[in-house]
């Protein structure tokens, strides 16, 4: 099992349970020592990020290292999430890499995503093993091979 510094948790944010299920499998198969948290709405994801990083309140789980974010969600969508995420206190965002995931074939979405410094990268669904391993390697430091 590989272990990365500060990569303790992968947050899967998608309203579709089956997509989260598949993505959990992919992350599990990557042989990386990391917790996986599935969340089905952008609102809950924001709550998770703000709570888990708060020193005064007990953290419900490990701090997210990578957030895989769906664009098309009911109510608050991926873009709305980013707008709220922007406003978060720096300590909640420290060491978090947001990856946007989409089924959209619209190049405007990729363009739009690249205009936000909060979005590390933009990927087509479904997530695959190689893409996940690359993101871990690119943004986190290996502690143990």
């Amino acid at each position: 099992m590989k272990k990365y510094k500060d990569l303790d948790c992968v947050l899967l944010v998608d309203d579709d349970i089956s997509t989260n299920f598949i993505h959990r499998r992919i992350v599990q198969n990557a042989q990386i020592d990391v917790a996986i948290k599935e969340i089905t709405s952008a609102k809950e994801a924001l709550d998770y990020l703000t709570n888990s990083g708060d020193d005064e309140e007990p953290a419900p789980g490990p701090t997210a290292g990578i957030v895989f974010l769906d664009i098309n969600m009911p109510g608050m969508n991926g873009w709305d999430f980013i707008a709220e995420y922007k406003k978060l206190d720096e300590r909640h965002k420290a060491r978090i890499v947001v990856v946007m995931l989409t089924t959209s074939l619209n190049p405007d979405d990729a363009q739009h995503a690249s205009s936000f410094s909060e979005i590390a990268t933009y990927l087509q669904k479904p997530l695959n093993l190689e893409a996940f391993a690359n993101i871990a390697d690119q943004y986190f430091q290996v502690l143990k091979e």
């Binding site: 309203d15 349970i17 089956s18 299920f21 089905t40 009911p74 109510g75």
Partner: protein, 350 residues
């Protein structure tokens, strides 16, 4: 007598159709100077193939017989340019009631004609685009159903023939596939229904009271399950597409029942006011309400505000409502306060 009004001119012709006078406005419209045109036959204004077909002669003949002949069409200016003319040729009689000549009233309608043509072209383009869109939606919803159906069929076969060898994991996977295909089937159906809304039907007088009465019957079980109270009286008779209106009312009613607050008796008030040639309807509920920032989004196809696990649905109903209201010349909008209720307001042309 030979005064000029705007782009009109009145010319005098002799009994054979030769031009007897010429004026400034005629010069402006048709282009000739008086000395080059007086005495020539008026057929010079016509296209060559019109002349070959004896069209000017036929007009003169008609005016001679009936006293008057009218025609609208392209003519040629001196410089070869075309103008759209509206022409009235009237016979002039002598004391013995013999036709001695004609007055030729010419109106230059080129600008109007071009505007009409642009509008016509625009309308035609719009019609083509609409057809394309309809076709597109039809293909999307119909042809995409077929491979989907194949997936569904084979999943059924799998379940039937291999159920004994499946472990729990395999069963879970099949459940995911099942749910997704079912969801897609419904999304595609919604798309197809949307394209077809109000399509083939003729408008008729629809009694909204009777409509609501019968809807209450249809929705009896969901109304009584929710314990909802529905209030309306003196709803109007409107002129519209009955099936579509029924769907509009049904969607708004079902939404009010579905998005009710827990522990609160759902109250639905339907009221109408007639003003400015529109019926202004209001469907007011005391449900969960809609966040201000999603007020527009709710009317967009497939847009949902809640997770499927919280509220079932496909994000179709209100987009249909919007299209139905627009088919009736009106608008739909929502006013809402979260945790207090929503009021859907729509208008229908009288």
């Amino acid at each position: 007598m030979l005064e000029v009004i705007d782009d009109y001119t009145i010319l005098l012709l002799d009994a054979q159709g030769n031009i007897k006078n010429w004026n400034k406005e005629a010069e402006k419209i048709i282009g000739y100077q008086a000395d080059e045109i007086i005495g020539r036959n008026f057929s010079i204004f016509y296209f060559e193939d019109n002349r070959m077909a004896k069209f000017p002669e036929l007009l003169i003949e008609e005016a001679r017989r009936k006293g008057r002949a009218q025609h609208e069409g392209w003519r040629v200016r001196k410089n070869g340019e075309l103008y759209w003319a509206f022409v009235t040729i009237s016979a002039i009689y002598d004391a013995g009631n013999v036709v001695v000549g004609f007055s030729n009233f010419v109106r230059d309608l080129t600008a109007k004609r071009q505007l009409e043509k642009t509008t016509e072209e625009y309308a035609r383009e719009l019609e083509i685009k609409n057809k394309e869109l309809e076709q597109f939606v039809y293909i999307a919803s119909h042809d995409l159903q077929e491979p989907l159906l194949t997936v569904k069929n084979f999943v059924e076969l799998f379940k039937d023939e291999y159920k004994d060898v499946f472990d729990d994991n395999a069963k879970l996977y099949l459940q995911f596939i099942d749910r997704s295909t079912e969801r897609m089937r419904n999304l595609l159906k919604g798309l197809l229904d949307y394209a077809r809304l109000g399509g083939q039907q003729a408008k008729a007088l629809v009694d909204c009271n009777a409509l609501m009465d019968s809807l209450q019957n249809d929705l009896y079980s969901s109304i009584s399950t929710a314990g909802a109270l529905i209030h309306y009286q003196n709803l109007p008779i409107v002129y519209g597409f009955e099936t579509a209106l029924r769907q509009l009312f049904q969607n708004l009613l079902s939404n009010a029942l579905k998005f009710k607050r827990p522990e609160v008796v759902p109250q639905i008030y339907i009221s109408v006011a007639g003003r400015d040639n529109f019926w202004h309807f209001e469907f007011r509920d005391n449900g969960i309400g809609i966040d201000e920032r999603y007020k527009e989004k709710v009317f967009i196809m497939f847009q949902r505000l809640h997770n499927v696990t919280d509220y079932e649905g496909y994000g179709i109903g209100l987009s249909h409502c919007k299209k139905i209201v627009e088919l009736h010349g009106g608008n739909i909008e929502v006013e809402s306060i979260v945790d207090e209720g929503s009021t859907f307001k729509f208008s229908i042309k009288v």
